[in-house]
Amino acid sequence: MEKSVTLTIMGKVSKHIPDDILFSILSKLSLKSLNRFKCVSKSWSMLFKNPCFMRIYRDHIIHRNHSDHDDNDDASLILRHIVQAPRELQISLYLVSGDNFENKVKLDTPLPSQELGQKIIIVGIVSINGILCLTSMVVADRKVVLWNPATDELKVIPPSPVEYITSFRIFFLPQIHGFGYDGVKDDYKVLRYVQYNQFGISYEHVRWNKRSYEPSWEIYREVTRGGNLILKCLC
């Protein structure tokens, strides 16, 4: 009975919606629905691995967040819920949004502990367009990554060239100041500083170009005892 109602136009039954226009609809769904609809069929379960779909999905999120919203919608807060069970810590991640943080969506994908170990810090406790910036509490690692829990994509940010320049470098936990999205340059920014001698602090700007995945560095400002120097270095 349903079949005769669905799309019978002048006797022609056409049920098939081509992929590209299907993606226009799916890209506007919430993460919750997208995850649920992975159960629709095998090809739907591979949606997040489909570069064509991901392109449309990302574009939609970015445009939605930067269009007519007064409030800062592009960042969602992360809630890390830690339960001390006997013998282990249970950690669940939630994306929260809404005026009173009433919308809580649990992130299924576990944190990438193979890359970063167990002691993971979420920079800024924030998710920008669904992407998290993570680093490890373990100094020896000094790794910073950008991670997308929806697709489990991980990009390691390479160490800054500044770290290799001077012999006065102090071995230091990477101090990540912030993680955000630059709407002007259409790129993500990770801000961190590296102390490389007793008197100087430099602020570094990492641009992670989400399209080419080639991180480039820009030294934002260098302050030395003698005065201010502005250094720009793009690699």
Binding site: E2, L7, M10, S24, L29, N35, C39, S41, S45, K106
Partner: protein, 160 residues
Amino acid sequence: MAQEASSSTSSKTISLKTGDGEIFEIEASAAKQMKTVQRLIDDLGDDITIPLHNVFSKELPKIIEYYKKDITGEITKDFEAEFVKDLNDDEVKVLFLAANYLDANKLFEFLSQNIADRLESKSVEYVRKYFGVENDFTPEEESKLREERAWSFRGIKEDE
């Protein structure tokens, strides 16, 4: 001669003929918003009745209504809500496909968002039927997937 054409386009109407043989009038400026129609006008001229084989008399008036509002700049959220209020999910889908065929971008984007909104509360079975997708999972595979993402099923009414 060029000047003559430009002064008359503002009030010029184009005739559109649906796949089931009915004819509707639309203003030239509204026709511009439907790239498929505009392309046909460019090829065939604007004096001829433009044939639209894949759009039918049930949908076209609704589409024309939308673009009539659009050229006066009056499309508001309220208008859009009213526009789809009495349409069921299948009717919206047909309209959506027609907007795609006509390459009417604004309507297409609006309807795709409306369909997405309608699907937020729907079950997996409903979506399969809606898009005519075959379930190619084994029962074991499917129940494993559902278990893994149980959180995404919370609050969703299952069909049947």
